[in-house]
Symmetry: C2
Amino acid sequence: MKIRVHVTLKPGVLDPQGRATHHTLENMGFDGIEDVRCGRMIDLEVAPTVTDEQICDMCRKLLANTVIENFEIVRLDAETEAA
Amino acid sequence: MKIRVHVTLKPGVLDPQGRATHHTLENMGFDGIEDVRCGRMIDLEVAPTVTDEQICDMCRKLLANTVIENFEIVRLDAETEAA
């Protein structure tokens, strides 16, 4: 079972990496960029026995710093499950 | 227009961060984890005039190191466009 965890900074938390990327893109001549926010992505390959609650637990305890970050869990093969 | 860029390591490229995360999760007592791969995610807020080609250009020139990384561009408000 393939799971993708998106970890993003909470709104309002300063994102220096995003700022630097935004600034550099503009210096490279790319126009029309209004905002850039950087985050992390963790792809997990887990056994079917692993529950959503366990994955949430992994995120809360290790994968995301819940003080300044939000996380979102996406099942990558949800489409194939649904098909 | 909201765009999300997923940057992942190419298959076969060693992922020390993923390995360390996998190892730590197992030490914390989480079972059933077969593999962990870490990547990056960049959320871009761009004007509607920005073309897909320009976004690909941004990825090739700055956002991804195409020697060892793959990138995937996802329009976040594609659903709303389609609705």
